[in-house]
Structure formats: C-alpha cells, structure tokens
Amino acid sequence: MRAVVLAVLLAVLPMLAQAVEPDEILADPALEARARVISKQLRCVVCQSQDIDSSNAGVARDLRLLVRERLTAGDSNAEVVDYIHARYGDFVLLKPPFTRRTVVLWLAPLVLIFAAVLTGGLSLSRARRRRTDAALDPEDEARIAAAMDRYKQGGSE
C-alpha cells in the first residue's frame, strides 16, 4: 500500500514543476495570482502548444515579465491581455475570440454533435420500428406455443 502511495506521489511530482522562476515572482501575492491567471491564457509563440506560464522559452519569460510589469503599472487583467494581443494577434490567445474568421472553429463542434444526435436518434427509432414490425401474428404464436408444449412433453417422457 505504501509503495502505491509513493508511486502515485512520484507520478504527480512533475506537475509541481513550473517555468516561473523565483526572480520573476512579484512581492504582492494578489498581483502575482493575477499574473498567473493571465499567463495561463497566453500562448507561447515559440512552443505553440504551451501557455507562457509553463514554458521555459526565452520569449515566454519576457512576456511573463511584461505581464507583471503592466500589472504593477496598474493595468487591469483585460488591459494586459489586450496589450499583448495587439502585438501578437489572435494567435497568442489560447481561447480565440468569437469573430467572423473563427465562426467555423466555434460552431463546428456544436454542428457535429447535433448531426451525430440526429443520425443516431433516427437510426435507433428506425430499428425499434423494424422490431415491432417483425412481431409474429397470433396464429403463428399459437403454433409455436403448441410446438413448444409438444417438445416439453416429449422431453419429459
């Protein structure tokens, strides 16, 4: 049991690792918390599938410092994000805004789910209808019952 706990703890240990270095962290914990929230929304432009909060790339570090600098200067969270958005475009946002260019991106999952539910529902209801169609008429039911009876009597003899 102890070994299992140890293994699990060791397995989750890497999750504690972070790219934010001690010299970047702000003295004010409230500002630092906001900086971490913002950093998680911004994509690293070098590594592309990581947020800047967890990236070790040089540009990501620069952007983290920039975020903290803007926050210290009194910017709101939205203003900080806008500042970086203006320089790096939609690409830098991990959650892209809903615009004319991103309509397909946002709506495709909904359309696909709707289509899946529709086709699934249609084929299920058709299958059920076929099953009720396939039910035997009373005459056949009676013949089968008679045959079963004969078989059971024959089996007991």
């Binding site: 432009v45 070098v46 540009v59 620069d62 920039l66 320089r87």
Partner: protein, 184 residues
C-alpha cells in the same frame, strides 16, 4: 427523399476530401504565425546603438520617410542560423543596394562587436535590444526574423527564420521586388 439520402455519402466524401486536400497542401505551414504588423505602421521603439560600433542606433523615426523600402533584420551573435543568413543579407546589400537595418536581439555588445568584426557589417544602423522589449513590440517569436518596411514606415512583409537556401531567398527576393514596385 430516399434518393437524396443516397447521394449524401458522396457529398460528405467530397467535402471531407476537399478539407484533406487543403490540409495536405505542402505550401500550407500550420506553424506559420500570422503577423499582426503587416500593413500597419512599424511599432514604437527606440534603441541605442551597440557601444563601440560606428553605426547609429535604430528607432521608429528611422523607418519612415525613406526613399524606398528598407529591410529590418533581427539578429544575435549567439544565433547560429544568423551566421548563415549574414552572407545572404550582405549580398542583398552589396549587389542590390538594399538598405539593411538591424536589431541586435538580447546580445552582449562585446559579442556583437566581435561577430560583426569577423563577418563584416552590412547594417547601416543597429539598435541594441538588450532586454528583448523591442522584439516583443515587433511581435517576434525568435531570431532571426526579417521585415520589409515601406518607405512610409508601413510593415509590408515578415519572414520568420533564416533566409538561407534557394527557396527562402527566392521568396524573400520576390517580396522585396513587390515592395519596390517591381522596379528591380
């Protein structure tokens, strides 16, 4: 209704096929990050010259009011591909008379001096971007990156990575010619 449904797989196959064809296009680079600067004025920045170098620094004002397009190259002595690109850029300057301006990105001045002394200096002006802040203003993701800026200070083109090799040089030359109005 039934006949319409029978045609549905064909329509779906055509739509998916077109999508896959688009995805397989070798010209399409999914890692390509579109620059927001294109057809916008150059960002606000002001960089001091590299200490000890005989060319001036670089600021926003230097990039407007030029008689023709200029090339702004972000480089560093620690960047290995920049060394390969240096020869290409030098040739553009010597052969085609391109005005080349540099942003020395996060480089120690003494390293930059040694690098330029060794390879030659094709840049008419170099701004020293010690903390990388001007790099962020330009929206760069790494070095080298090269921009073509119109005479009026509008960013016309951005090339990410070293301009090395036939394809890259051809691509950049074409962009440069378009910027010059197809004159050269």
């Amino acid at each position: 209704m039934k006949r319409m449904l029978a045609g549905l797989p064909l329509v779906l196959a055509a739509i998916l096929g077109a999508f896959f064809l688009w995805g397989l296009d070798p010209e399409r680079d999914p890692n390509d990050i579109p620059s927001v600067l294109i057809s916008h004025p150059v960002p606000e920045f002001a960089l001091d010259p590299v200490p000890g170098l005989d060319v001036p620094g670089l600021a926003t004002a230097d990039l407007s009011g030029n008689p023709g397009p200029v090339v702004v190259n972000v480089f560093a002595s620690w960047c290995v591909p920049c060394k390969a690109e240096h020869a290409v850029l030098s040739r553009f300057v010597e052969r085609d008379g391109v005005r080349l301006l540099g942003i020395n990105y996060k480089d120690k001045p003494e390293d930059a001096l040694r690098w330029l002394a060794e390879l030659g200096n094709p840049y008419s002006a170099i701004g020293s971007d010690l903390d990388g802040r001007a790099g962020i203003e330009w929206g760069i993701s790494g070095v080298p990156e090269t921009f073509i800026v119109g005479g009026d200070g509008t960013v016309l083109y951005r090339y990410v990575g070293p301009i090395v090799g036939e394809d890259a040089v051809a691509k950049f030359t074409l962009a440069l010619q378009q910027a010059q109005g197809g004159l050269s």
